[in-house]
Structure formats: structure tokens, C-alpha cells
Amino acid sequence: MAFRFLHTADWQIGKPFGNVPGDAGAELRAQRIATIGTIARLAATRGVDAVLVAGDAFDSNEVQDRTILRTLDALKPFSGRWIFLPGNHDAALAHSVWSRMRQMGLEANITIADKPVPIEGWDGRAVVLPGPLSRRRESLDQTEWFDAAATPEGAIRVGLAHGSVANRLPGVAEASNEIPETRAQTAGLAYLALGDWHGSLKIAPKTWYSGTPETDRHRANSSGLVHIVDLDGPDAPERVETVPVGHYQWHQLEAQLLDGTCQAALEALSSIESEAARRVVSLTLRGGVSLAERYRLGTELSSWQHRFHHLDIDDAGLFEEPTEDDLDALDSSGFVRLAVDRLKAQAGNPSNPAAASARVALRMMYVDHMSGT
């Protein structure tokens, strides 16, 4: 009577990554579909009974037709049942990605769980109870019906829902699409497969978020995973295996440059040097450096930008602090020195509106100087 399935969610196919320009952004978009292919192959390899997608398979209901078709193509390596739950990004509206998908013609192994009715099969071993979202924000709990849902005797009850679990998730204050933390218990579920939270997380007894299989933001911890879930019986404890399937690794680095050099930043970057081309990095720099170090940092960052898949630098908190050596390197006398002194004075005066410009001007002059002009 055992039931094995793959739990995943939040694919958000069609997410554009508009803030990552050029090829890097295009590749991030393409990878989300490629990762679905990985999931399909994993499902086939592990011989699961079904793949449950707990909402937000698509980034929006208004993705391009080609995005839908490519996604459907990516499912093909697994010929078992795929059960898709509409989430808040792809809610089952009158016209939705799901209605479009149906119009395109669905394979028999694909079930769109857009109605709150039990999904049966698997020789009566299990019943999936879906709580689809029919609008982006449901004010009523869509899983409430699970409790009273009648299922064949001995069938394993698996819940499938999308939203935030009340009182459990940190930093989530949304009142909509809320799921009670006790739903698995009250509805007699062996496993409640959830979507919405992008990291893999057991949030309550028998209640799990699988997270997104392909990381899409810096803040998502434990993302890039899927769950292979084994349920040995209606009341047996769930056995969950997290399997990494994501391609890109997202890192959020923050370097405090406190010693006047850029060493801390370079060390932080070096720490993720391996497989640099798969890394999407956000680097926040704080502190102060000499002009010489700033110049060196610029050269190094330029190199890292080429090595990483994408490197986003926030240096708003980084201040140039010209040293005497910097200034002497520019000129020890003459009008250049006069200009440097003035810029330095402006840069050092936080109340001067031109302070930031003056800092950049000093850096520019140093770059010109170092470039041999």
C-alpha cells in the first residue's frame, strides 16, 4: 500500500530576470525549463507514482505560448502522472495558463487540479486532495474541505496546497491564502505538499514546503531541491529525501572593508571560486579604501564579473579614502594637487551634496593616473 511521489513547487517558469541584462538573464530564464527536464528524469529514474507540483509552476498566467509548450515538452521524460495545482502566480482564473494548456491539448498523464475534488488512481493506494487557488488571493482557506473529504478505506490521503502556513513562516504577514498549521492532522493526511515558500522546509507535522527546484533569488535558503516522498501507509510517518536539481547557485555576499584594503572583498569572492560560471552573486561592499585599493578592487571585480554567471555589485556603502600616498601618486604639487585637495575636502564632508561626486571624481582621476595619462 506504499505510495511514492515527487513533491516540487514554485517553478515560476517564465520569470524574466529583467534586472539581469543580456545573455545571463536569458540563460537564467532558459534554465528554469531545463531544470524541469531534470525533475522529469529524476521522477522516471526513481519510479515515483506521481509528481505533485504544489502551485506557481508558472510565473504568471500571461506567459507566452512558447513558454507553456516548452514546459510541456520538458515533462516528457516522466510518463507517470503529473498533478499541477494552480497557485497564486498561476491561479485558476476564467482564463489562465491552465485553460490555455487545455486548449492546446493535454497529455493523458497530466492532471490540472483546479477543482477541489479528490484525485484518485494508483489502484486505490492513494488519494490526492487539492486546494487550488481560483484567484490570486483567496481569503478563505482552500484546504478546509480536506477534513470532510471522503476517500476509499485504506487509501493514503495526500494534501496538495499553496499558501503560507499560519503562525509558522518567518516574515510572512499575508493574510490571504492561509493554511492552518493543523490541516494535516485534522484532515488525516499522511503528507501535506505545499508550495509558495522557495526553500525546502518542514513547517509543521507532515507538512512540507519543497521550495523551488531552481533558485531564483538571493534570499532563498535551501532552494534548488525536490522531495522524493515515501509513504508506507495512511498513518505511517513520511520518509522525505531532498534531492538537489538546481543548476545555478545564488550567493549574497557582503564584505566590510575595514583595513583600508579590498582584501576582505576579494577573499569573499575567492570563497566561491569553484564552479564560478554557475554562480549568481550579489556583492555588497561597505567600508573605506584607498584610491590605490579602489583601483585594484575595480580591476579584480571586472575579472570576477566575467567569471561568474552574473555579479551584481552594490558599492554605495564603499567610500574612497585617499591616503597621502594616493595623493602623492597623483601629484605632490601643482594644480593637480590643488584639485585633489579640494576634491578630497568635498568628499570628506558628508553634508556637501557633491560629496559622492567628489569621491567618484577622485577615483576617476586615480584611474586616469594609473592608466598612464
Partner: protein, 870 residues
């Protein structure tokens, strides 16, 4: 360096010149034009800056013209308190020697030492060039004619710069500073245009961001429309679902079926009612027919009676008219007989009148024939005579002029003969006996003889006598002959032998012409219309005479009487004719009226007959009583049918057909409306779905999210680039401001040094040098800046000399003391200014050796400086 002694031998035009005892301050060397004072300056330059082995053009230039000698120059000078002797010989056996301060150099070492001492760059090969090789001397040694030009700092710039730097410290940024400034300007101009507006990538980025924002807003609007469509679709789907759930269409259909059954029942009652109405109508028609037949029979009988009385009246009228006609015909016959009698009488009277008129006409014609015959004879005779006279008149064409011409020619001849005769020799012959005299062989009668020409007169018995008339007779004789000839020719031409005959002929001709005219007038009087017309009139009258009846001797008085009688008879006839016409007309009228009345009486008879037949026939078919019975039966049948109709109408009213009809219409409309609503909703649903599918293809959501990211990225980039752009501008502005300030600082010593000198010629003025080239840029006078090149030549040379003195001061204070040499450097300066310039030179000479080379000794006598003459 101070110059002490100069000795030049065989250098260009200078054979041997020594200038010695040169003092610390002012020294004036005077040389007339061509004396070689400028050559002296050239010699100074040569000994210091030319390599002693110099060859080529530079060497040739040192040689006196067309000579090959050994130019030699000796210079004693003092530097930093030490005395030095320099000697160089060029061209042949070149030689160089420098000694002083316990040192001695010869050959090439001399040049190296000099370059080191004075900080100039010796020329590599060939002659030296002041700007490149003479160091500060290029600046301080002014050649004749160049004093008003640019200073010509040249390689002296570095000396000057280091002198200034020793005073104000290092103030320039040097090459590196300039490069940084240039780089910053280039970067700034990458961001900002000349009007300080964004440009290039900076501008494009802002524009792109703006475009993205607009596009984003557009897409958001589209998305909102899309969402509205989705909502609408949901609404439509809900309504359709409700229709399905409530089975609205089927309910409407069933209601309609029931309503139709009720309506059918009402329709049956309606039919029955219609049938009853039809029965009533038919009974009414039958009744009407019976009544009509009855009425027709009564009308026929009445008509027959009317026809009878009409026929009788017609016959009575016809007989009355017939009687009247017979009376009118009798009167008419009587009137016709009277008329015939009157007509015959009228014809007789007219015949009498005509005969009388014919007789009178014939008598008149006979008289006319007699008269016209006489006239014709007279006219024809006169015309024949006229034609004869005309023939005579036209036989000759002689005119009075012709006769006058002949008479003139005759007079000329006569005169010629008289003149000849008067000039001729008159000889009177009185022969003896029968002694004969012959002239020109012809015998001459005795008597007087006139000879007009040479002639030989033979006197018988005597012999011959030659006669020669006096001169002129020949001409006269020729004239007489000519006149004779002309006269005769004229006569012959007119066809006469003599003038008399011609005169007669003319008279005859004129007479004939007059007679012809007279006869013509006679013809015209007798036959005014011409002879032919006369003949015709005669013929016409002859015809009249021969025509008509025989003359009965009637008189005109009888004719008038006959005419009057005829007229009266004709009047009576006309009256009778009028009367007869009236009678005939009356009879005709009565006859026509009779015919009409005959016709009318006949028609009335026929009508009456027919009507009588018709009534008889009808009565044979249906008797009058039968018709009366039939009418009564039809009246009863009609009353029965009307009772049936009233019963059917009551039954129909009881069934309420309007309510049944309204119910049916309502049910059918409801069914139609629901069906239409479902169809319309279905179409709308499909349309919305199609529209949404179309929108979905483009991935509006993806586009929107993509653009949102782009806008965020663009904003970040623009912020960064704006900071960079502002920084670039700030950097450039700061650098250029610093450079400007430093430049002012840098040139301050020049301003300070030149000020005391300038004050002597121009209060409140200032010299501005270019901070790079040290050339004079501007002169500021009373706060007004003027470009150096714009000043007068005199002012330029004064300013230039002052500047050189000031620069020499700076150089000296920096340990690079040097003599100033001015070769006629103030030739364009007026006397007043020259005095001032002398003061300046004096002031400068307090610290500075100045060597003045001039050809104008007078100008410098008052200078108070030792003067040496070349």
C-alpha cells in the same frame, strides 16, 4: 654673465673690431649703417653658440664676401665673479679655447663647457638656431628689426620656468597634470555636451529608461484590460452555468407548447364563429336578390307606361312641323321666279354698255394710227440725215489745234524767209539786149535777184561773176529750209497740200457735226421713246382698229345713261337674291327639324315595342305573385342565420382569445430571448477566449515582469551613470579651476617685476604672459585687456623690451644672470617715450648689464652711458 671685451677679426664685413671696457650697467655701441653693429651681435652668437668646426652654409656666412679667411672672435666675460676668456676661430684651422676660473678647455670641450655653463643645447650639426639652441640668449639678445615681435622664448622657456618655480614653487602639474586635465575633459565631454546637457550613452540611457517606463505603463494598461477581460469571462461563464443549472431554456420551451394548445382551442371557436357570420352574409345576399328581382318587375311596368306617353308626344310634334314646311316651300318658289326675271334684265343692260365702250375705243385708235404714221416718217427721215452728217463729221479727225499748229509753222517759215532775204545780196540785172544771164547754169530772168548763198552768175558776154553773200546767210538759209521742211511735213501728216485746204476741211467737219446734233434733237422731239417704241404704238393702234364689232355711232352721252340704267337693275337684283336666300334657309330649317322629329317618333315607337315584349316575356317566366312569395321566404331565412351567428359569437367571447394570444406570445418571446442570450453569451465567451488567447501568445505577463526588471536595472544604472557624469564634470571643473588659479600664481613674478618699469611709461598697466609659452598674450591698460598683436609697433617694442628686462631680472635672481643686448630695439618709439624708455633702461641697468647697439648716436647721447663707436 657680463660681457667685458669683444674682439672680432675677419668676421663677415668686420675686418677687425674691438669693443672693450664694457661696464656693468648700460653700454652703448654706436655704428653707422653698414658699420657692422648687427654683425657684432652675430659674432657674439657665433662665439658662444656655433661649433668651431661648423661647416656648410653657417661657415660660409661667417666669411667676408668672396673671401676665404679665418674668422676669429674673442670674448672676455665674467660669470659668478670669475673672468673667462673665450676664443674661437672658424673655417680654416678651426680652433676653440676657453679659460677662466682656473680652468682651460680647448676644442670640442669648449662647446660642452659653454653648454653646461649657460644651459643651452648645442646644435647637432650645421648652424645654430636662436630659438632652439641659444637658451635664454635667444630671449635677451634682440636683433635689429625684431624688437616689436613676439619674445621668441624658444629654448629659454625651461630656464624661465625653472626660474619661476624657484620663486613660487612647483605650481604646474607638468605634462602629467595636462594629461589628467585632458583625460578629465574627454571623460566629461563623453557625458555632457557644450551646453552642459547630457549626451552620448548617458543621454541614451535616460531616454531608454524613459521609453521603458512608458512601455511599462502601456503594458500595465494592457494587463489591466486583460484582467478585466478575464473577469468578464468569469461573469459570462457564471451566467451560462446558471442557465444550465436552472434549465431555463427547457422551461421556456414547455411553457410555449402549453400556450400553443390553448391558442388552438380558441382558433376552433373562432372558425365556428366565422362560419356563422358567413351564413348570415349568404342569407342577406339571397334576400337582397329577391328584393331586387321584385323591384325590377315593378320598374319595368312603370317604364312601359312612360314609353307610351313619350311616343305619342313625338308623333304630334312631327305632324305640326310637316305642315309648316309645306307653307315655306310655296313662298320660296314665288321668290325664285321674280329673281330670274330681274337677272335677265340686268344682263341686257350690261351688254349695251359694253358695246358702246368698244365703239369709242376703235375711233380713237384710228386717229392715233394716222398721227403716229406721220410722226414715224418724220423721225425716220431726220435720223437718216443725222447718220449721214455724223458720217461726214467722223470722216476726218482734224481739230482746231491742228490748224493752229500749221499756222504757227507757216508763220515761222515766213519769218525765216524774210530774215534770209534781208541778209541776201540783192542784184538787179539790167542785161543788154538779149544778153542772157545764167545762175548756176540756169538762165535767170532780168530784174532783181537776191542771193543768199555763194553763187556763180554767168553773164553772157561778160563772163562769170562770183557772188559771195556776207557771213550768216548760211545759217539763215538752213533755218528757212528747216522751217519749210517742218511746215510741209505737218501738212503731209494731216493729208493736205495746202493750209487753205486744211482750213476748209475743218470747217466742213464742224458744220456736219452741228447738223447731226440738230437732226438728233429733231428725232428726239418726234419720237421721245425712240423710233422703235413709236413703231410699236402704231402697231397696237392698228390692231385696235381692226378688232371689235361694227361701229354703231353711239355717243358718250348715251353711254352714261346706259351705265346708270344697268346699275339700277343690278341693285334690284341684289335685293331679290337676298330675299330668296332667306326663304330657302327657313324652308331648310323646317325640313331638318321634321327629319329629327321623324327619327324621334320612330325611336319612341321602337322602345315602347321592345319594352312591351320584355314585360310579356318576364311575366311568362315568373309571374308577379311568384316574385312576391319568394321575397317573403328569403326574409325568414335571413332572420334564422343571424340567430346562429349571435350564438357562435357568445361562445368565442367566453373563451378569452386575447389572454390566450398574449400568453402564447409571451412564452414564445421568453424562449427566443433565453435562446438568444445563451447564444450571445456563448459567442462572447468564445470571443473573449480568443482575445485572451491572442494576448497570451505574446506573454504579456512575461513582458511586464521583464520590463519591470529592466526599469529597475535602468534606474540603478542611470543613478550610477549620473553620479559618474557629475563626478566627471566636477573633476574637470576642479582641475581647470585649479589650473587657472595656479597660472595666475605662476605668472605673478612676471607681473611684479614688470610693474615698476611699466609704471614709468604707462600708469595702471599690466603684462599678461601665456603660462605655457611665456609669450606676451595681452597688455591690460586701465583694466582693459588688449591683445599684444593689436598694439602699435612702437608700443609693442616698448612692452617687449620691458618684458625682457623683467624676465632677465627673474633669471638673474634665479642665478642665471645674463647681459641684455638690444640692437636698435627702440627705433619706432617717439621722443617722449624714448626718454621714458631711457629711464627704464637706467633703472634696469642698476642690476643688469645692458648692451645697446645703435646707429642713432644722437638718441643715446643723453642716456648718460659710455658710448663706443665702431
Amino acid at each position: 654673465m657680463k660681457l667685458r671685451r669683444i674682439e672680432v677679426t675677419d668676421f663677415r664685413k668686420l675686418g677687425h673690431v674691438v669693443i672693450d671696457d664694457l661696464g656693468d650697467g648700460l653700454n652703448v655701441v654706436v655704428g653707422d649703417n653698414e658699420a657692422g653693429k648687427s654683425t657684432l651681435l652675430a659674432a657674439l652668437r657665433a662665439v658662444l653658440f656655433e661649433r668651431h668646426r661648423v661647416g656648410g652654409a653657417a661657415a660660409v656666412a661667417m666669411q667676408p664676401y668672396n673671401q676665404s679667411v679665418r674668422p676669429e672672435i674673442r670674448l672676455d666675460f665674467e660669470r659668478n665673479g670669475a673672468a673667462w676668456q673665450l676664443r674661437k676661430a672658424f673655417c680654416q684651422r678651426p680652433e676653440a679655447e676657453l679659460a677662466g676660473n682656473g680652468e682651460r678647455y680647448t676644442g670640442d670641450a669648449v662647446e660642452e663647457k659653454l653648454a653646461e655653463m649657460f644651459g643651452f643645447t648645442p646644435p647637432g650639426s650645421g648652424g645654430s638656431k636662436p630659438l632652439e639652441h641659444h637658451g635664454v640668449f635667444g630671449l635677451l639678445w634682440v636683433e635689429q628689426g625684431t624688437s616689436h615681435r613676439a619674445l621668441g622664448i624658444g629654448s629659454g622657456r625651461n630656464h624661465l620656468a625653472s626660474a619661476l618655480e624657484s620663486e613660487v614653487g612647483q605650481v604646474t602639474g607638468g605634462e602629467r597634470g595636462r594629461a589628467l586635465l585632458a583625460a578629465s575633459e574627454e571623460r566629461k565631454s563623453g557625458f555632457w555636451d557644450k551646453r552642459d546637457n547630457p549626451r552620448g550613452e548617458f543621454r541614451a540611457l535616460a531616454a531608454q529608461l524613459e521609453a521603458d517606463r512608458e512601455q511599462f505603463a502601456t503594458l500595465q494598461k494592457q494587463m489591466a484590460e486583460h484582467d478585466a477581460q478575464v473577469s468578464r469571462l468569469a461573469g459570462v461563464q457564471n451566467i451560462l452555468a446558471r442557465h444550465t443549472r436552472d434549465d431555463t431554456l427547457n422551461q421556456a420551451i414547455q411553457k410555449a407548447v402549453a400556450a400553443r394548445a390553448a391558442a388552438a382551442r380558441v382558433a376552433q371557436l373562432e372558425e365556428k364563429h366565422q362560419a356563422a357570420v358567413g351564413g348570415v352574409e349568404r342569407a342577406r345576399l339571397r334576400l337582397d336578390a329577391a328584393m331586387s328581382r321584385n323591384m325590377a318587375r315593378r320598374r319595368l311596368a312603370a317604364d312601359l307606361a312612360a314609353d307610351k306617353s313619350e311616343m305619342d308626344a313625338a308623333h304630334a310634334a312631327r305632324n305640326e312641323t310637316s305642315t309648316e314646311l309645306a307653307r315655306l316651300d310655296a313662298i320660296s318658289s314665288k321668290t325664285a321666279a321674280c329673281l330670274n326675271e330681274a337677272a335677265r334684265a340686268e344682263q341686257e343692260a350690261a351688254g349695251r354698255v359694253r358695246r358702246m365702250e368698244q365703239a369709242i375705243a376703235r375711233r380713237q385708235a384710228t386717229e392715233a394710227v394716222e398721227r403716229l404714221t406721220g410722226q414715224l416718217k418724220l423721225a425716220e427721215d431726220a435720223d437718216a440725215a443725222r447718220r449721214k452728217a455724223s458720217a461726214v463729221a467722223s470722216a476726218t479727225s482734224l481739230t482746231a489745234n491742228d490748224i493752229a499748229a500749221l499756222e504757227s509753222l507757216e508763220r515761222d517759215l515766213y519769218q525765216a524767209r524774210v530774215r534770209l532775204e534781208a541778209a541776201g545780196v540783192r542784184i538787179t540785172l539790167h542785161p543788154d539786149a538779149a544778153q542772157a544771164v545764167r545762175l548756176d547754169g540756169k538762165p535767170v530772168a532780168s530784174g532783181e535777184l537776191v542771193l543768199s548763198r555763194d553763187a556763180r552768175l554767168v553773164l553772157e558776154g561778160y563772163g562769170e561773176v562770183g557772188i559771195h553773200p556776207r557771213g550768216g546767210t548760211e545759217d539763215l538759209m538752213r533755218a528757212a529750209e528747216t522751217a519749210e521742211t517742218a511746215f510741209q511735213q505737218a501738212l503731209r501728216r494731216l493729208g493736205f497740200a495746202e493750209l487753205i485746204a486744211a482750213r476748209n476741211a475743218l470747217r466742213l467737219q464742224e458744220n456736219a457735226r452741228a447738223e447731226a446734233a440738230n437732226l438728233g434733237r429733231t428725232v428726239a422731239a418726234v419720237a421721245p421713246g425712240g423710233i422703235e417704241a413709236l413703231k410699236q404704238e402704231l402697231a397696237r393702234n392698228a390692231v385696235l382698229v381692226s378688232a371689235g364689232e361694227a361701229v354703231d355711232g353711239a355717243e358718250p352721252g348715251d353711254l352714261e345713261c346706259a351705265k346708270r340704267e344697268s346699275h339700277e337693275i343690278r341693285g334690284r337684283l341684289a335685293v331679290l337674291e337676298s330675299e330668296a336666300r332667306a326663304r330657302r334657309s327657313a324652308a331648310e330649317t323646317a325640313r331638318r327639324e321634321l327629319a329629327v322629329l321623324d327619327e324621334r317618333a320612330s325611336a319612341a315607337g321602337q322602345r315602347y315595342g321592345k319594352r312591351l315584349e320584355e314585360l310579356s316575356a318576364a311575366r311568362q317566366v315568373t309571374g308577379d305573385q311568384v316574385l312576391e312569395d319568394e321575397l317573403a321566404a328569403e326574409q325568414q331565412a335571413f332572420q334564422a342565420a343571424d340567430q346562429d351567428r349571435q350564438a357562435a359569437s357568445a361562445a368565442l367571447a367566453n373563451a378569452d382569445p386575447e389572454a390566450k394570444q398574449l400568453a402564447l406570445r409571451q412564452a414564445e418571446q421568453a424562449e427566443t430571448m433565453i435562446r438568444r442570450d445563451i447564444t450571445a453569451l456563448d459567442i462572447e465567451k468564445r470571443e473573449i477566449e480568443a482575445a485572451l488567447r491572442a494576448l497570451g501568445k505574446d506573454g504579456l505577463g512575461e513582458q511586464l515582469a521583464q520590463l519591470e526588471g529592466q526599469v529597475a536595472l535602468g534606474e540603478t544604472r542611470l543613478k550610477t551613470m549620473t553620479l559618474e557624469a557629475e563626478a566627471a564634470r566636477l573633476l574637470f571643473n576642479t582641475l581647470s579651476q585649479a589650473q587657472r588659479e595656479m597660472r595666475d600664481l605662476w605668472l605673478a613674478p612676471v607681473r611684479e617685476r614688470s610693474a615698476p618699469y611699466l609704471r614709468l611709461i604707462e600708469a595702471d598697466s599690466n603684462i599678461v604672459l601665456h603660462d605655457e609659452t611665456f609669450e606676451i598674450d595681452q597688455v591690460v591698460r586701465n583694466g582693459v585687456a588688449e591683445p599684444f598683436g593689436g598694439l602699435s609697433v612702437g608700443a609693442r617694442e616698448q612692452i617687449a623690451v620691458i618684458t625682457r628686462i623683467a624676465l632677465a631680472d627673474i633669471l638673474r635672481e634665479a642665478g642665471q644672470e645674463s647681459c641684455i643686448v638690444l640692437d636698435d630695439a627702440l627705433v619706432n618709439t617717439d621722443e617722449a617715450r624714448l626718454e621714458r624708455m631711457h629711464l627704464i633702461l637706467h633703472k634696469a641697468a642698476a642690476n643688469q648689464q645692458i648692451l645697446i647697439l645703435t646707429c642713432r648716436e644722437r638718441d643715446f647721447l643723453q642716456l648718460g652711458a659710455p658710448i663706443r663707436r665702431m
